[in-house]
């Protein structure tokens, strides 16, 4: 016990800061572990991330060869093909496993882009205020009001069909909400005494933003990230379904597209339609549940409900 007290004074500021952050992280993690919904969401996500990471082991790409498919077209589920086959005789289970890779990848990439723009615009607008704020927020509002799926469709149609374009389009159409939330937080943060103190000590804008503003908006950005990933995965599915996806890679959306195009509905080939959709629902649900759990951690008022 006493050993803990003395080194505190001699440790460098950096070490103290790190210790404090580890402490905060631990207490958040404890709260999260106590949240049943959050844990359930996290378990779902862990399963899918595992599936995506080991996709090439679980479903070797050779088995997805179009010319040398292992089964006959549209076989119903059997012992050999647990989820049946598609119109080319490929196993739907293999397709779904491979699809998880692309769907999650696009989801995360799009979210990273969205967060980067959102955080940058939010911090700039909130911190600098004045004209920068007015212009940036008008811009944000414009993006917020424009119906985002049609915008994404138009952008994707113009820019062409590749994974990166899809991620970029989703990123470009989902950032405004983050920007608004971050801006609101920055507005209150920059009036805090410690920011004023830092400025009085001669800290520049960059120093204040990276040292004082960013660490404090980060939890907020993170909570937002989780919800944006869910939206990004849904949007990727929709765009792929509409035929705007990368034609050379398999995602859950593109599986649904080919299932629809091959008339799986009227053929009653439910094994072709249900699994990819179910994966999407589970992943999005997982992210949403984690998101709610984080909201509760960040906003103590919600905890009692």
């Amino acid at each position: 016990m006493s050993a803990n007290v003395t080194p505190e004074a001699t440790r460098s500021g950096r070490a103290v800061r790190r210790a404090r952050r580890v402490q905060a992280f631990k207490s958040s993690a404890r709260l999260f572990a106590g949240n049943r919904m959050g844990v359930a969401g996290l378990v779902i996500l862990a399963v899918f991330v595992f599936m995506a990471v080991f996709a090439d082991v679980l479903a070797p790409e050779a088995r997805l060869s179009v010319t040398n498919a292992p089964g006959s077209p549209l076989e119903p589920p059997s012992a050999q093909f647990w989820l049946g086959t598609d119109e080319l005789g490929r196993s739907v289970l293999d397709l779904v496993i491979q699809g998880s890779q692309i769907s999650l990848l696009v989801g995360f990439l799009a979210t990273a882009i969205s967060m980067l723009i959102g955080a940058l615009v939010g911090i700039m607008a909130g911190y600098f205020g004045g004209w920068a704020d007015v212009i940036l927020m008008r811009f944000t509002d414009w993006f917020l009001v424009i119906p985002f799926l049609p915008l994404a469709i138009v952008l994707a149609a113009i820019l062409g069909r590749s994974l990166f374009v899809i991620a970029l389009v989703i990123g470009l159409t989902t950032w405004p909400a983050t920007a608004r939330v971050v801006r609101a937080q920055v507005l209150t943060l920059k009036e805090r005494p410690y920011v004023e103190r830092a400025r009085a000590l001669g800290a520049g804008d960059r120093q204040i933003i990276t040292r004082h503003i960013l660490p404090n908006v980060f939890p907020l950005i993170f909570a937002n990230t989780i919800l944006v990933v869910a939206i990004a995965i849904l949007t990727e599915t929709t765009l792929s379904f509409l035929g705007l996806g990368d034609p050379f890679s398999v995602s859950w959306g593109s599986i649904l597209e080919s299932a629809f195009a091959e008339g799986a509905i009227s053929l009653g080939a439910w094994w072709y339609l249900v699994p990819p959709g179910l994966c999407i629902v589970l992943v999005v649900l997982g992210f949403t549940m984690c998101g709610y759990a984080f909201d509760e951690i960040l906003d103590p008022r919600l905890r009692k409900r």
């Binding site: 509002d141 414009w142 424009i146 119906p147 113009i158 869910a230 009653g268 339609l273 999407i280």
Partner: protein, 305 residues
């Protein structure tokens, strides 16, 4: 809010012009011509009305896919979408509001928990996948409803009553899909809004006067709690239209959504896509304006601010 809306109206006309020039690599003179056509060289207030007039007259170019003016193609597809979206919006708002009130009134009850969970799941679903499942179940397996189109082919000379029944039968599944996809959000908003209103002072006063609980709910809580739902319904209109894109595709509903799908996969058909995007944007902005005005009417406090 009005300033914001005016700003959006001003920035919108610039967008199709920019998109157009980027799409087709047109010469500067054509850009000027397009600008003149869209009225972009005139003062802003004039431009605003001209722009509306032009859109109404429909100088939107010729569709590649249909080889007919974009305005005509869109005009033909407008009514089916209005019918579908209208029915779905009314259905979702009504059901969502009622469930939301019930959930707030009997918080923690089975109905409340079930509707919250159901809302979460439908939120996580791509609408078109839900549509596919409904077709599989109700049209393919049970054969209760037709799978696609707005009416049975060759039924044009039947009596008006038969035609109406036929259209309603075709409308049922796509409308149900949209209602299921949407009502959860309304229920959620209405629920939290009712809970908030229940804690207001005037509600406590009404209760203290000895008013019956059901009457308090009907006279004091619900009217006030409805405000956010009105906003959401108006704001959502544009998003429902874009949500209808995939649902219409799945059901071959001859509306704007299916048109969008054909525009993407037919080339892509840039003039048609542009026209559709323009229309979607205008709808959303008008919906925003309508929400503002309506809120002002419903809540005198906002009108004066």
């Amino acid at each position: 809010m009005l300033v914001l809306n005016f700003f959006l109206f001003r920035i919108l006309p610039g967008d199709p012009e920019r998109t157009l020039t980027r799409l087709q690599r047109v010469s500067p003179s054509t850009v000027d011509e397009v600008k003149r056509e869209l009225g972009l060289d005139r003062p802003l207030p004039v431009q605003f009305f001209d722009y509306l007039g032009d859109t109404a007259r429909g100088e939107l170019g010729i569709s590649y896919v249909f080889s007919r003016p974009v305005s005509e193609v869109i005009g033909n597809a407008l009514w089916p979408t209005i019918l579908l979206v209208g029915v779905a919006t009314i259905g979702a708002t009504l059901i969502g509001t009622l469930i939301g009130i019930w959930g707030a009134w009997r918080r923690g009850s089975a109905v409340d928990t079930a509707s919250l969970g159901f809302g979460l799941v439908t939120y996580a679903m791509p609408e078109f996948w839900l549509g596919m499942l409904l077709i599989l179940l109700f049209a393919v397996a049970l054969d209760w409803f037709p799978t696609s189109f707005m009416s049975t082919p060759g039924l044009t000379d039947a009596s008006a009553g038969l035609l109406l029944v036929d259209t309603l039968e075709h409308l049922f599944l796509p409308a149900l899909t949209l209602v299921l996809a949407l009502f959860g959000e309304y229920a959620l908003i209405m629920r939290s809004s009712v809970i908030e209103a229940m804690n207001e002072d005037y509600v406590k006063t009404a209760r203290a006067k000895g008013m019956r609980e059901a009457l308090v709910l009907r006279k004091h809580v619900v009217p006030n709690a409805l405000l956010p739902v009105v906003t959401l319904a108006a704001l959502n209109l544009g998003f429902i239209v874009s949500g209808a894109i995939t649902v219409e595709t799945v059901f071959s509903w001859p509306g704007l959504g299916q048109l969008t799908f054909r525009a993407i996969n037919g080339g892509p058909d840039y003039p048609l896509l542009q026209g559709l995007f323009l229309l979607f944007s205008v709808v959303v902005i008008f919906a925003n304006l309508a929400a503002d005005l309506l809120l002002g009417l419903l809540d005198p406090r906002i009108g004066r601010a």
